[in-house]
């Protein structure tokens, strides 16, 4: 099979990879913000569930989480299908790491900023949204970019539950054509190109959030 044809077949897998990664990234951001803020709370009843989530998803392998959601949850009557299971597992996993990024960035805002907010009598919510958050976000973005690339690479795991993303499509194609070198070189380049897109996208976001000097 010529390169162009291989590429055309693989591109359907590429699209699924992009969709799964984007969906998981969205879920990860939501989870990271919620759990990161919750872990920064002074109330232990808020902190504790978030800490449990983070420790469970950081402390076990992403592959096992994926299998658990795809194979075990249906036994409890929760069958969400392969794509949703892929998005959920990847997103929850990345969200746990992201929560630590959010928490770290919030902690890194100098105490003097909080003191100034209290001295100005700002409410705790106002302090968080107007003072702390805008200063914490720029510090979150570089590690968030790393996590996004990590997420992209992890998305190959979901080929193991037969989601027809890039890696899965490549393996099918390999068994039918035996053009192993060509196929996996293309796949390698495709992942690399996607990672470059993420890096470029994150640069833009970083510029937007940069505090004017």
């Amino acid at each position: 099979m010529p390169y162009a044809e291989l590429a055309a077949t693989l591109s359907s897998g590429l699209l699924v990879t992009v969709q799964v990664t984007a969906g998981a990234a969205l879920l990860a951001v939501v989870m990271a913000v919620i759990a990161g803020l919750a872990r920064s709370s002074r109330n232990p009843l808020v902190r504790w569930p978030a800490a449990t989530y983070v420790e469970i998803f950081r402390g076990t392998s992403a592959l096992v989480q994926l299998f658990w959601i795809y194979f075990v949850l249906p036994r409890f009557g929760i069958d969400i299908g392969a794509i949703a299971a892929a998005v959920a597992a990847l997103g929850l996993n990345a969200g746990a790491y992201g929560a630590e990024v959010v928490r770290g960035a919030i902690r890194a805002v100098p105490q003097g900023q909080r003191d100034a907010a209290v001295a100005l009598n700002l409410s705790p919510a106002r302090t968080l949204f107007r003072v702390i958050w805008p200063q914490a976000v720029p510090a979150m973005l570089p590690p968030a970019g790393n996590l996004a690339i990590e997420l992209l690479k992890n998305s190959a795991l979901v080929s193991l539950i037969a989601v027809s993303e890039l890696t899965f499509t490549a393996q099918l194609l390999r068994t039918s054509t035996l053009q192993t070198t060509e196929i996996f070189t293309l796949v390698l380049l495709a992942y690399f190109a996607l990672a470059l897109c993420i890096t470029a996208g994150m640069r833009r976001v970083e510029r937007r959030w940069k505090i004017a000097a």
Binding site: D115, V118, A119, L120, N121, L122, R130, Q135, I211
Partner: protein
Amino acid sequence: MPETPPPIIRLRGLRKSYGNVQVLRGVDLDVPHGQTVSVIGPSGSGKSTLLRLLMLLDAPDAGELEIDGESPWTAEPGGRMRADNARLRRVRGKVGMVFQHFNLFPHMNALQNVMEAPVSVLGLKAGEARERALDYLDQVGLADKAEAMPAQLSGGQKQRVAIARALALQPRIMLFDEVTSALDPELVGGVLALLRGLAQRRTITMLIVTHHMRFAERCADRVLFFENGVIAEDGPPAELFHDGVHERTRRFVEAVTGD
């Protein structure tokens, strides 16, 4: 016989420790409204801690703290101090503080720094808040820097924005914690002149922690000499600095001014 008004700041036996360090060991103080008080004393004697307690940034361990007749803290049976949140915020609204390192919000320009609290705390409309903020920036001589980001301002300018920001809430009490210590020498004068002008108006009670003995002497109605977490000496500057009775203050002043 004229009634003496109650003091705007009233402290009795105020104590505060950080870990094992007893920082304040029983501070008693009455400050009448409108007075300008300089606070001097060796490093680590508890001056900043006192200001933090007055700003209600930290809770005391024991003792009474009353501002404008209100006590935001009540001792629980176990001994811990408990805050009444509504009262805490009401009392904080009467006090403003300026910090050694300015603590401006770096992502907001000068005008936004000053407008933030009038909008979100006093509920002013954006237009009114803007007008008020520009007025205070003008008072500190920075009307032309309204759009500048903190990173574009000199240390002295940053500190003046910080003063405008605190004044814009129109507090009854202003606390200044070594507000010139982080400034280059040539920028100190402008900030001190601003404080002197505020003190002369006599509408705001001011507590000024400073290492500038001449400033303390000239601008304050009263000087507190802090040592080991208590007010060791207390009196008008002329007495404290010159009467020979206040031995410890005199020795401290000699040591810091080097004569």
